[in-house]
Symmetry: C2
Subunit: 346 residues, 2 copies
């Protein structure tokens, strides 16, 4: 490759025969510059193809005008609405938004990205996810008071920061109540990654709802998936093979639910006639192998949350004096589709 040589503000100043300060002023649209000066400088900037160095500028201004977003597994179609929210939020502010993705639930990698971002590359970060082993990251963030951040889905008490939360507990109650209203009494649960707080919350909603109704959770009615969504398939097969087969299954998320539906269909049973299934997320994008009915689900306003998170950060960065920590719990909404039917059985 050719030799690297960047043109700096010095080159512009020398060529235009003005001081560094003057060049800086025209770059920053400062008022106090004589028109002819301004034009002269602008011309040489153009000639030389100069662009200001972002790192240098943010070093002295202590401001990067950027916001960083850190998530696990950016490729996951789950993020469709959330990313859209971030994108539109970004478009509506002057902040550049950059995304970092951490594979799996790798806490070290997450910490690495957060440290990187928070030390001179962004002014604020939004952190999505509720992996329980992200604790180290949060401890770090707690200490570093020079950066604003908002946490989505994570409600660590000791952390005083902006929190956007989702009423997973209530949402999962809505799901189970919906099943009960349709006459279901034998309701099982396939839950997600046990290392996430959401999983616990949704589980708790299920448990409490069942107990409050005086129903029984039969042997084998609670199935844990491993980290892979696909294992929802096997877990559903387990449930089907039970002597006391459930008439309805609440799945911790729609990815799991979609595999559960497949398992039912592959077993020669029908959804919802033989088994009702309800999910969580109202994820409207699924693997193309899915041929089942549309999944009844609990929706969380991810687009809104993504957009809000950027707006909140932008606002607080702009007006730090007026900034108040925000803690908001978003409500969920049951979306009836095609996978829940009335219980014909006992």
């Amino acid at each position: 490759m050719e030799t690297r040589k960047t043109v700096s503000i010095k080159d512009v100043a020398r060529t235009a025969n003005v001081s560094l300060a003057t060049v800086s002023r025209v770059i920053n649209n400062s008022e106090n510059v004589k028109p002819e000066m301004r034009e002269l400088v602008q011309n040489t900037i153009r000639e030389l193809g100069y662009s200001p160095n972002h790192a240098a500028r943010s070093l002295v201004k202590r401001k990067t005008n950027c916001i960083g977003v850190v998530v696990n597994n950016l490729h996951d179609p789950f993020f469709y609405d959330l990313i859209k929210g971030f994108e539109h939020g970004a478009q509506q502010t002057k902040y550049n938004v950059i995304f970092c993705s951490v594979l799996g639930g790798d806490a070290d990698s997450k910490e690495n990205y957060v440290k990187y971002l928070t030390n001179g590359v962004v002014d604020g970060v939004v952190l999505y996810g509720s992996y329980l082993n992200d604790r180290k990251v949060l401890d770090y963030l707690k200490e570093s008071n020079h950066v604003d951040y908002v946490m989505i889905e994570n409600d660590v008490r000791e952390c005083s920061c902006n929190k956007l939360l989702i009423d997973n507990y209530g949402g999962s109650k809505k799901a189970v109540e919906h099943l009960m209203q349709r006459g279901h009494k034998k309701i099982a649960h396939i839950c997600g990654n046990p290392n996430k707080k959401v999983t616990q919350e949704r589980m708790n909603g299920y448990l409490d709802c069942i107990r409050d109704a005086g129903l029984e959770i039969k042997e084998g009615y609670i199935q844990y998936t491993s980290t892979d969504y696909c294992s929802g398939y096997d877990k559903m097969k387990m449930l089907i093979s039970l002597d006391n087969r459930p008439s309805a299954v609440f799945c911790s998320d729609d990815a799991i639910a979609s595999f559960a539906v497949r398992a039912v269909m592959d077993s020669g049973l029908r959804v919802p006639e033989d088994v009702s299934i309800i999910g969580f997320d109202n994820q409207r994008i699924l693997p193309d192998g899915y041929r089942g009915p549309l999944i009844t689900s609990v929706e969380q306003p991810l687009y809104q949350i993504g957009q809000d998170s950027i707006h909140i950060l932008a606002e607080q960065l702009e007006y730090p004096e007026e900034a108040k920590l925000i803690r908001h719990v978003y409500e969920t909404k049951l979306i009836e589709k095609e996978t829940v039917g009335y219980c014909g059985g006992i």
Copy 2:
């Protein structure tokens, strides 16, 4: 919010009663530091909760150890495999990878992000996309020789940079030939966004293939979708309503194809018995409303391309002397699924 105060290398040096240079040396794992010094410094770093400022460091080292990825509409499920490739590629190098998303085909926004990235925030950038109006961005990139980059899907001749290309022309020939092998003679085409090079290439493959076979492209057989995938639905309806209805349709991508299949089914016709449909991308994630058969498609190795792009950049940044510009055209592969049948008609 509290007052912001970052702890800098100076604070560490003062507290530990050593020079800046020494602190710098232990941060950078330089060998020439006495063990007791090193420990002393490491302790005070821990006590003070110090992390080096990335902007300052990269300013002096002229190296950021980061790679930036710029795409349009990161939320699009199309990117599933590509993002996975980027993520795994990143994991395999020491480079941090950050993603920037440009909404729609907004060239200004893309230029903004590219300028931002290339001026002190990353060492290299990978640019995905073939929007024709990205020209300005490419012109800019051409001038700035202080950054390595790889372009995916864009083959601007004047641009001497790494190029990872896909044989869209050949792939689309494969698609149309497959249809002809199944006896189809009345083959229509629904093409994508006309502002992308891929659209042109796939169109050309279609045209040449049809002509080489001595077939005729009937009135109305070529339909342009607007920027929205959904318009594939309406365009397919158009094709169905034609007096001389085509027996097969080649769609520029699977997103369009999925809407085309829906249109056929909603018209009371069957896929592939009445109309065969073939797509491009082998996108395995679709909107949940899709109930049709699995879409026969032309696959491009997006995961591989994503991973390769990061590797190539990392390699060139590491060993600039040995760096040679890479230009690679990836082959496509026909994936037979369920939407192409034998032509029963004339």
